[in-house]
């Protein structure tokens, strides 16, 4: 589809105009951290040049906590009322290629039969605009998972490129076209500047320390039992604190808990993010099959590299965003695990 461009100095006007399509979520700095937040909140600063938000946009589709159903209890009788689904459209602008792939990973879980209607209603009401990376960071390794950060692909409505002077936009759905039509500042553009940015970024990608990780031992055809029994897990997991930072910062971790809360007027059943790093996660009346941190640690990594790909046509459920690399207090992460299990970096 056609490429359009607008003056970078007019981004504020674009955000205002996008308001006509619904609430606009942008990469935003607030209180010393970054996340996808609604445009225009006091004390926040939208910034498309942020390489990667500390918090992924996952919670716009799969909130950290959400209400499912309310129960009203009268004597022996139970009356239930389903929680409302998303009804308002919204715009998610500036999703990097890794986080876009993460939405694909989540889609295959929540939109598989039987469909999760809470997730589905948010996906259907979203207009998603991806944003190419101009300068990857040292902790990035999306290319190891076949992702091209200079040309995001996946479940989005338009792809954007931000250069020194302009914002380029290529719609890929009808919803994406509405972004161009709602703002008069867009004009047809040629590929030159975008191509130059892509070439410069690709030159950096080739030199990233983690970008060339060899994942041939993992994926759909991997030897599940051999990897499960690999002696390296013992040492790899020895320093894991079981804090769950990796799972909570991960854009693809989708494990959840369902809990009840007595409000005094009834019972609220809600779902919230959970973590396979916790002992309680699999605890039953007669015990748990994952007795030590080693089993829990192994579960997380094998899920990303082996179990999920086996169930999803080879798609890895790690997208190489590097958030866990940055957040793990014990410096344990995907790169170390993948290398220890046999995936050494390819020769340069």
């Amino acid at each position: 589809m056609s490429l359009y461009a607008m003056d970078r100095a007019r981004l504020g006007e674009l955000y205002e105009a996008l308001g006509a399509l619904g609430r606009v979520y942008l990469p935003t700095r607030k209180n010393g951290a970054s996340a996808f937040l609604p445009y225009g909140e006091e004390g926040s600063e939208a910034d498309l040049s942020l390489l990667l938000c500390d918090k992924s946009p996952k919670d716009l589709f799969f909130p950290q906590s959400e209400e499912l159903v309310k129960f009203r209890l009268t004597g022996a009788e139970i009356a239930l009322q389903e929680a409302a689904r998303q009804k308002e459209p919204f715009v998610l602008f500036g999703v990097k290629a890794c986080d876009l792939q993460a939405i694909e990973v989540l889609d295959r879980v929540f939109l598989a039969e039987p469909v999760d209607s809470f997730y589905q209603s948010r996906r259907e009401h979203a207009t998603v605009v991806a944003l190419a990376c101009a300068r990857p960071a040292e902790s990035c390794f999306c290319t190891a998972f076949g992702i091209d950060p200079t040309s995001p692909q996946g479940p989005c409505d338009a792809v954007a490129w931000l250069t020194e002077s302009a914002l380029y936009l290529r719609p890929c759905t009808e919803k994406g076209e509405t972004i161009v039509s709602c703002f008069a500042g867009f004009a047809p553009a040629d590929e030159k500047e975008v191509a130059a940015q892509q070439a410069a970024a690709r030159a950096v990608l080739g030199r990233l320390p983690y970008g060339q990780l060899d994942l041939s031992r993992f994926g759909e055809a991997s030897d599940e039992l051999a990897l499960f029994d690999h002696p390296a897990w013992e040492e790899l997991s020895a320093h894991c604190l079981g804090c769950g930072s990796c799972t909570f910062s991960c854009p693809t971790c989708q494990c959840y808990d369902i809990r009840d809360y007595d409000t005094g007027k009834g019972v609220l059943r809600f779902r919230c993010w959970d973590s396979c790093m916790y002992k309680d996660f699999t605890m039953m009346a007669h015990g748990t099959p994952r007795k030590t941190q080693k089993e829990r640690f192994r579960q997380r990594f094998l899920h990303k590299l082996v179990y999920y790909p086996k169930n999803n046509g080879g798609l890895f459920s790690c997208v190489g965003c590097g958030r866990c690399v940055k957040k793990c207090p014990a410096n344990l992460h995907m790169i170390r695990v993948a290398k220890a299990l046999g995936g050494e970096p390819r020769a340069q």
Binding site: L225, V267, R290
Partner: protein, 275 residues
């Protein structure tokens, strides 16, 4: 039906039967009467008491029972403790059915069937047994080996003695761990009893019970010449969603709630030993 797999229906407890000191069987109907849903033997359902919790239970009644669903539940945790306080007329929430069930309309057709259960492990097998007895001509000889700690811990002994023991082509073999007054049946652990009874390895075995019992029963069956492809069991892991999304009941790449809970032993052999 609700608009989301996580939204339950209301069920009414229409009968509560005490089977053993710590097992009760609950009959559940839909608000409008009848069953909340149809199921196949070996499938499960999520039961909950709002404000207490929700958990997965095997459906112990047979699909051939058109009037109600039944659940035999052992008191062993917070939710089951609350469930045991329910009386007829109480409401709970229910959703399902979940999982694959036993292949009663597939691989089990025409086969001699050997049921081996320990304690509350009879609950999921009872659904299959009654299904098989109601469609008797479709299956071969039936042997039922059932054991518990004591005679008082055998779940639904009444039905076993009154109905199963007199069904055509069915042999029931009961055993208890330690001798007790008034008990004239076998005394000893289930795996040893299976070995002593010495079944021909032409049958298909369906095994459910405590993990330690399953482990030794599998050893006994191997000694008798049973191949792993002739033995089915049903698994239990912690579950929250029941539909393969919440991420906690997996054994390797398989979700017990969705791909199980029934597995053939050779299928389990291909999965990591983490259950």
């Amino acid at each position: 039906m609700p608009n989301d797999p996580l939204i339950p229906m209301i069920g009414v407890v229409t009968d509560v039967r005490r089977d053993t000191p710590d097992v009760k069987t609950f009959r559940v109907n839909a608000l409008t009467g009848g069953k909340n849903f149809a199921h196949m033997p070996g499938q499960c359902a999520m039961l909950s008491i709002p404000g207490v919790g929700e958990a997965m239970f095997s459906i112990t009644s047979s699909p051939t029972n058109t009037e109600y669903l039944e659940f035999s539940i052992k008191k062993c945790g917070c939710l089951t403790d609350w469930l045991h306080r329910l009386e007829a007329g109480a409401q709970l929430t229910i959703r399902g059915p979940y999982g694959n069930g036993f292949p009663v309309e597939g691989a089990l057709l025409g086969q001699d069937l050997l049921f081996i259960a320990g304690g509350i492990g009879l609950a999921p097998l009872r659904s299959v047994i009654n299904y098989v007895l109601d469609k008797r001509e479709r299956y071969g000889k039936v042997d039922i080996v059932y054991g518990a700690r004591s005679a008082d811990d055998l779940v639904d002994l009444e039905e076993i003695r009154a109905s199963w023991a007199h069904a055509p082509g069915v042999d029931v073999h009961l055993t208890i761990d330690r001798a007790q007054e008034g008990w004239e049946g076998n005394v000893g652990f289930v795996p040893n009893y299976v070995r002593e009874l010495g079944f021909a390895p032409t049958a298909t075995a369906l095994v459910c019970g405590p993990p330690i019992m399953i482990k030794f029963v599998l050893g006994a069956l191997a000694e008798l010449g049973f191949a792993r492809t002739q033995v089915y069991t049903t698994m239990e892991l912690r579950m929250k969603c029941g539909v393969g999304k919440c991420g906690r009941c997996n054994i390797g790449s398989k979700y017990v709630c969705k791909d199980g809970p029934v597995f053939r032993m050779d299928q389990l052999d291909e999965l990591p030993d983490e259950y």
